[in-house]
Symmetry: C2
Subunit: 194 residues, 2 copies
């Protein structure tokens, strides 16, 4: 309850408190089912990023950008998993912050994964026109480790994409629908088949 | 009205049609302001992707992945700009399709941009440990064009990120908020300062 005190804007249930009671109860039950899943999805990249980083760092040839990106994402996963694990009243400002950070880290880890995949492609195939020779014959150990690391990184990308979906759902479902034909909540959407 | 006929699920304004009238009016005014902006944002990557593709294709050294990704995005931009330009009743299934396609193309063009930026970095700096020599001394023309193309591609990335925001807002605002404290629409959110 003390947490609610600093939220001046959203905490006051101004209108329709009575009739919203049942719906709010149903929805917080949904929320209670989603929260463990979300916490798991937030904790998973922590393990994945640390693993991808460790695989890269064990080698003398490191791909620095991938290591930094994985390190940042591991730190973010740690913080956000703890943040999500504790049930707390959701507010618009918190939803915005989580949403924006999820977006940033999703794009960051995807960009790191794509750039590393390109590097790996070049290491395997070389580029004859630019006279870059295939490098995995010489650096076979590095290539195997880099391939593992990139594969693990794409695992984190999948987690982050799902997290982005959850946090954008959580944020934007707090707003009214911009379109009249979607504006009637409740009945139609509950009956929507897929 | 004939367009509404095939939408069995959402078109029936089952509850509260009377009191929703005013809100729906306000919201469709917002929608009317957002639509031209969205159409512009969807048309912009068309120009950007075609430009990025043209710059790459004028050269003998092409970066195929970037060309394909830009081509796909140009095609999607063309279709989705026409689709958005025509006002039509929004439905959940349409919102889901636009949302998912926007997500896919945002990630695709970002990955293409990141991979090309990595290639460009290598072309400028080489990688001494792997004995890849710096290539821009020899292929200066290619490097300048590739740099232009990558910069333009990141312009499209920005457009796509904004489009993803708009389409996820449009989709998820049609759902109920999962959290009780965000569930009361109208009053608090309208008064939210930023």
């Amino acid at each position: 309850m003390s947490k609610m005190a600093d939220e001046k804007v959203i905490s006051a249930p101004a209108t329709g408190g009575g009739e919203d009671g049942l719906i709010a109860g149903d929805l917080s039950a949904t929320e209670a089912r989603v929260r463990p899943l979300e916490t798991l999805l937030r904790a998973a990249p922590l393990g994945l990023c640390v693993a991808a980083m460790a695989v890269m760092l064990r080698d003398t040839q490191t791909n620095e950008y991938l290591v930094y990106a994985n390190g940042l994402c591991a730190a973010y996963s740690l913080v956000s998993a703890f943040y999500t694990a504790v049930p707390r009243p959701a507010t618009l400002s918190r939803s915005w912050i989580v949403f924006l950070l999820d977006q940033v880290f999703t794009y960051l880890i995807l960009a790191a994964g794509a750039a590393s995949a390109e590097l790996l492609y070049l290491a395997y195939n070389g580029d004859k026109e630019v006279t870059w020779s295939e490098a995995c014959g010489v650096f076979g150990g590095f290539c195997r480790q880099a391939r593992t690391s990139v594969a693990i990184t794409f695992g984190s990308v999948v987690c982050y994409i799902l997290l982005s979906l959850i946090s954008s759902y959580r944020l934007f479902s707090a707003y009214d629908a911009p379109m009249p034909s979607l504006g009637n909540k409740g009945v139609e959407i509950a009956a929507f088949p897929r």
